[in-house]
């Protein structure tokens, strides 16, 4: 019953978030601040992880291809497919659930504990619109970071090839161009948009409705990470089946 209650509350929160919008001049500032905190602030970690995981995918694929009949360009092909289809949109989103999600839950949760949300409500401000809506808008730029992640993942694979001597640069480049389907990129971006909404709203829900003190803020951050990751993984399965399934 608690799960159903929470799911209902989550959807009510989303509906309430769009009611009584905050003044645009104030909202604009909040959106830019959240773009800085959530998107720009995450670029470094996304770039670092993407580059090295791209390299690892390349090494693992190259090491597991020991049949001389399998062409060497398959290393580049496998790296591109893994990075575009799964690593960049899904794996990065789970990492972001930890980084951005915990930040959102703890910042909103602290505002709840210190009565800052009550202060907004008493002033007649729609606190959900004020706090959550700018995060949703800011995270709509999340696909751009994923595009950077895709590029750096493939670049990391190329670097591993060249410097590790697993395959030639020419083979790798042939591989990343082989059987390229634009729809796979569209599929990845559709997933990313939906994950971005989840990344903004589930941590906000856990922060906004938390009760208690500082200890509970920590607990809420952990719970929010777990549920965001679960929902991302479930949605990943559903969307993959819907968009790529038979």
């Amino acid at each position: 019953m608690t799960y159903l209650y929470n799911i209902g509350s989550y959807f009510l929160m989303i509906a309430e978030m769009f009611r009584k919008p905050t003044k645009w001049s104030v909202m604009k500032t909040l959106i830019f601040k959240d773009i800085n905190d959530l998107i720009i602030g995450s670029l470094g970690i996304i770039a670092f992880i993407s580059f090295f995981v791209g390299g690892v995918i390349t090494i693992q694929t190259a090491l597991n291809i020991d049949n001389p009949l399998i062409p060497k360009y398959l290393v580049g092909f496998a790296t591109r497919q893994s990075v575009i289809l799964e690593f960049a949109p899904t794996f990065t989103s789970i990492i972001m659930a930890g980084k951005v999600g915990s930040f959102i839950t703890s910042s909103i949760g602290t505002m709840r504990v210190t009565e800052q949300i009550d202060a907004l409500e008493v002033m007649g401000i729609n606190s959900l619109n004020y706090l959550v809506f700018p995060k949703v808008v800011a995270l709509m730029l999340y696909p751009f970071t994923i595009a950077i992640g895709m590029f750096l993942g493939i670049l990391g694979g190329m670097a591993a090839c060249v410097f590790g001597g697993y395959t030639s640069l020419a083979d790798y480049i042939i591989g990343i161009q082989t059987d390229f389907e634009t729809f796979h990129v569209i599929y990845a971006f559709v997933k990313t948009f939906i994950f971005a909404f989840v990344l903004a709203t589930i941590p906000s829900f856990h922060g906004y409705y938390m009760k208690g003190g500082a200890l509970e803020v920590g607990k809420a951050s952990t719970t929010s990470f777990v549920w965001t990751a679960v929902v991302v993984i479930l949605l990943n399965y559903i969307l993959t089946d819907m968009m790529l399934g038979q």
């Binding site: 009611r19 009584k20 003044k23 602290t110 009565e115 409500e121 008493v122 002033m123 007649g124």
Partner: protein, 255 residues
């Protein structure tokens, strides 16, 4: 003026407010006092609309709160100033930005007009040079004064204060009390203060509502509280020897 009639509020079947009726007058400092757990904070949160209640009415100058639409409630709340127990300053903003916040949200003033108003209210609460400090850099007393400045910056009709003196030294507590009373007189605000600080009661209690176990046990002023024979009130207010002596002296002087 705020009028409360037969207010009932329960949590999980436990009745916390058991039919409170009272009124808070314009231009006066109205105090809600009582022991911890008597229902003061719940009562204040019901007045502010932060808690829904089961029965009864709360009327702000004749407007019954529960009968207002969401938009009307938000418009009414724009006329309310609130000083929270922990100040509740926005920790991502400077002191000046905190005070300017209600103006940015609810007025169409230019930046220079807002800055002038912020300067004026910060001066009013004796904080001339704290504009660019962050709340975390301010002392408890300064934070309370910033919270008062933020509460009054948009000329509210109603001012609510939850334990404005908690965590403050006696001297700063008196400064805060006097400031609230002066502002109430000056702007003719309906001020409601939730407190269990007996100094505040004696200093600024123009109207006092005493709660016990979710009921209004007594109502009066700082003058009548000295004379009352109500045992529930005297047990609470004059529980310390110092206040017993103060009361005795007051009665002797006024006989």
């Amino acid at each position: 003026m705020i009028e409360v009639k037969k207010l009932h509020k329960s949590f999980s079947g436990v009745e916390v407010l058991k039919g409170i009726s009272t009124s808070f007058e314009k231009g006066k400092t109205n105090l809600i006092i009582g022991q911890s757990g008597s229902g003061k904070t719940v009562f204040l949160k019901c007045l502010l609309g932060l808690f829904d209640y089961e029965k009864g009415t709360i009327a702000y100058d004749g407007q019954i709160f529960s009968q207002l639409t969401e938009d009307q409630k938000r418009n009414l709340r724009a006329k309310i100033g609130m000083v929270f127990q922990g100040s509740a300053l926005f920790d991502s903003m400077t002191i000046a930005e905190n005070v300017m916040f209600p103006l940015r949200m609810f007025t169409k003033q230019s930046k220079s007009e807002m800055e002038d108003r912020v300067d004026f209210v910060l001066k009013r609460v004796n904080l001339d040079n704290a504009h660019n400090k962050m709340p975390s850099e301010a002392s408890g007393g300064m934070q309370k004064r910033v919270a008062i400045a933020r509460a009054i910056v948009n000329n509210p009709k109603y001012l609510f204060c939850d334990e404005p003196n908690s965590g403050l030294d006696p001297k700063t507590a008196i400064v805060i009390d006097n400031l609230i009373q002066e502002i109430t007189d000056e702007y003719q605000i309906t001020t409601v203060i939730n407190s269990h600080d007996m100094n505040s009661v004696m200093e600024i209690g123009e109207k006092i509502v005493f709660l016990k176990n979710g009921l209004k046990a007594w109502e009066g002023s700082k003058e009548t509280i000295f004379k009352t024979d109500n045992e529930v009130v005297t047990d609470f207010v004059y529980s310390s020897n110092l206040f017993k002596k103060v009361r005795k002296m007051y009665i002797e002087e006024n006989q």
